[in-house]
């Protein structure tokens, strides 16, 4: 299907073209009517001229001493244009003619009334019981010029009015579609995870049902996602207590069992349960990250939150975690506390998992809300680096993990309008891996 262009452009061009065509047609019709009326007027004038010339000519001819001699008279000033006339008898002998009369344009002498030759309009009248015939001829070019002038006079305003109507139509269409444009801007401006209804100025009647349908769809989508998210979060959450019970029981079993196959079996079950617990945790984090509840209404102090997360991880960390916080006061950002904790936790866990053994991990938060986690280790190649944030992609040949962790980080960062950058080697180092996240700063 060919993509439809801009409605605004279409309307402007369509309306203007329509107006111009109608205008031209109207002008052409007016031109024809004007020409018709002009012809009538000219004919009336010719007829009137003939009526005035005829008695004078008759008198002139009757008073001649030598009848039937041709005589030329000067054209009458009263006649408009370049009217020529000719008086002949029944046999065609010219009795009287205007000075510039061209005999070829008049046609047969006895012809009466109006007739048209290729170049002239001719009017004939008779007198003295059809013994004298007067013919008046006027060149058509004279009439055509008059018609042309009249038509041009009609067209002249059009040259000004077409651009004016173009501008007028454009302004009007633009004005009429302003709510549609603001709707478009509202749709374009929304973030990936934003599933709130689209609110704009009242839309035109024709578009309102579509906009309502879109909002309806968004609402259904939001509810479906929310249900799914709640289900995932609840199942992960509900899993924890029975998992804790099973893990505790199996640890007691390991503790009580004598060395041998039972103890080994118990250790295997314990490992499986731990894996299950880890998965439940990741599912819950993923649900949180994708649920869209990642932005906080009240700005949160990232420094305080990061301190908690690092404090928590330091208990289980096998290498030192060096935390650097800005010395002066809190770092406020409009991100949900739990979402930030999930992000920070995943980054640090990744660093713990993939960093070179025995080398410390550096966690730094700057005053402008930039979190950076650096671990030592081999340099990753750029292709691998680019793939890391995809779900279930792991760094090849490395420790397990990098599966969901960075995908969760990336999802949270996107939803929180934060920018995630991965680099290897780390900044100002020859080795290692650095993940940095620039969070939005509160009030900016």
């Amino acid at each position: 299907m060919k993509a439809a262009g801009s409605l605004q452009k279409q309307l402007v061009y369509g309306l203007t073209l329509g107006i111009v065509v109608l205008w031209v047609v109207a002008t052409a019709l007016s031109g024809l009517i004007v020409q018709n009326r002009l012809d009538d007027a000219f004919d009336d004038a010719m007829q009137g001229a003939a009526q005035r010339i005829l008695p004078l000519a008759v008198m002139d001819i009757l008073n001649r001493e030598e009848p039937l001699t041709q005589q030329r008279v000067a054209p009458l000033n009263a006649l408009p244009g370049q009217v020529a006339y000719l008086v002949r008898d029944r046999e065609g002998t010219i009795l009287l003619q205007s000075r510039d009369a061209d005999l070829t344009v008049f046609g047969p002498p006895t012809m009466q009334g109006f007739s048209t030759t290729p170049t002239h309009r001719v009017y004939g009248a008779s007198a003295l019981r059809d013994t004298l015939f007067l013919q008046v001829a006027e060149p058509l070019s004279y009439r055509r010029k008059a018609a042309r002038d009249a038509t041009f006079a009609l067209l002249l305003p059009l040259l000004l009015l077409v651009p004016a109507s173009l501008l007028g139509v454009w302004l009007f269409v633009r004005f009429s579609l302003r709510s549609v444009r603001s709707y478009r801007r509202a749709v374009e401006a929304r973030g990936v995870g934003d599933l709130s209804p689209i609110q704009t100025a009242p839309l035109p009647l024709e578009i309102r049902p579509s906009a309502d349908a879109v909002n309806n769809l968004i609402d259904r989508l939001r509810r479906a996602l929310e249900t799914e998210r709640r289900f995932t979060a609840n199942s992960a959450h509900e899993l924890r207590t029975p998992l804790a019970a099973a893990l505790a029981q199996v640890q007691r079993l390991r503790h009580e069992a004598a060395d041998g196959p039972v103890k080994e079996r118990a250790a295997q079950i314990e490992a499986s349960l731990r894996e299950l617990a880890r998965l439940a945790e990741k599912l819950m984090q993923l649900a949180k990250a994708e649920g869209g509840s990642v932005l906080a209404e009240v700005p949160q102090d990232l420094a305080m939150l990061l301190n908690h997360v690092v404090g928590d991880l330091q208990r289980v960390a096998t290498v030192p975690i060096q935390l650097t916080l800005p010395p002066d006061g809190p770092v406020l950002s409009p991100i949900d506390a739990d979402a930030f904790a999930i992000l920070a936790r995943n980054l640090i866990e990744n660093a713990l998992k993939h960093g070179a053994p025995g080398r410390p991990i550096n966690v730094e938060l700057t005053t402008d809300a930039r979190l950076s986690v650096v671990n030592a280790g081999d340099v990753l190649d750029p292709a691998e680096l680019a793939q890391l944030t995809e779900r279930f992609v792991r760094g090849s040949g490395r420790a397990p993990g990098y599966g969901l962790g960075l995908a969760i980080v990336s999802t949270v960062a996107t939803a929180a309008r934060a920018e995630l950058k991965l680099a290897s080697p780390a900044t100002d180092r020859a080795d290692g891996f650095q993940a940095s996240v620039q969070f939005p700063v509160a009030g900016m």
Binding site: H237, R240, A244, A246, Q249, Q251, H255, L305, D312, D338
Partner: protein, 222 residues
């Protein structure tokens, strides 16, 4: 120590009670907040292990009531709620520590010991008592490089004295710390454990105050 465990999941409660019991603490286990309230009213506990979601209410409300009644008993929250905001809310409500389910029993033991140390006013897990070097973290005790093995009850008894150096502890107070509700206590149980301690650590490790009770002996402090 005398520990009150408030946890409604039977399997988890049982395992936790065994674990803490093995560490030498006396554990009372209740499954509702109402029972917890009763237990607290009748016994002086050294530590509460509190689940947050219980059949008859939220553990965090229970904790707030406890703190607003000026009860300073150490509390470790055990919960399935793993979000940082939950943890911060728990700590703000007055918890001393927060353990997210599922957890390792060994980690629980370590946290219990850490909280106990903090409350005894001596956060250092290594103590020197006369010729004895005591490490409360891994429950080892040495005299001039030679390890001495204690049973869980003996450890619990020693810890009770170490936590309140110089304080006089009655026989019933010691029984309360060593045995949970319903445990069968032989009438001379405390005397037996004290005599074992003296045999292993030296006679003057525990002083007897006739008719009153016992206290930590005046071993020479280096």
């Amino acid at each position: 120590m005398r520990v009150l465990l408030i946890e409604d999941n039977a399997d988890l409660g049982q395992a936790v009670r065994e674990q803490i019991g093995d560490d030498g603490h006396a554990v009372d286990w209740v499954q509702t907040l109402a029972h917890a309230q009763l237990a607290i009213g009748s016994t002086a506990y050294d530590l509460l292990l509190l689940d947050l979601m219980l059949p008859d209410g939220r553990g965090i409300d229970f904790l707030r009531r406890l703190r607003s009644a000026a009860d300073r008993t150490p509390v470790i929250i055990l919960t399935a709620m793993d979000q940082l905001s939950d943890r911060i809310a728990g700590l703000n409500a007055g918890a001393d520590d927060y353990l997210v389910k599922p957890f390792d029993l060994s980690e629980l033991s370590a946290r219990v010991a850490a909280v106990a140390r903090r409350y005894s006013g001596n956060p250092n897990p290594r103590l020197q008592l006369g010729e004895l070097s005591i490490d409360l973290t891994d429950r080892s005790i040495q005299r001039e490089g030679e390890a001495i093995a204690l049973t869980a009850r003996e450890w619990a008894l020693l810890e009770a004295f170490l936590q309140r150096p110089g304080a006089l502890l009655s026989k019933s107070q010691l029984e309360e710390r060593l045995y949970e509700f319903g445990a069968e206590i032989e009438s001379n149980a405390v005397e037996v454990h004290v005599s074992h301690l003296r045999k292993k650590l030296g006679f003057n490790v525990v002083d007897t105050v006739r008719g009153m009770g016992y206290r930590l002996g005046r071993l020479e402090q280096p």
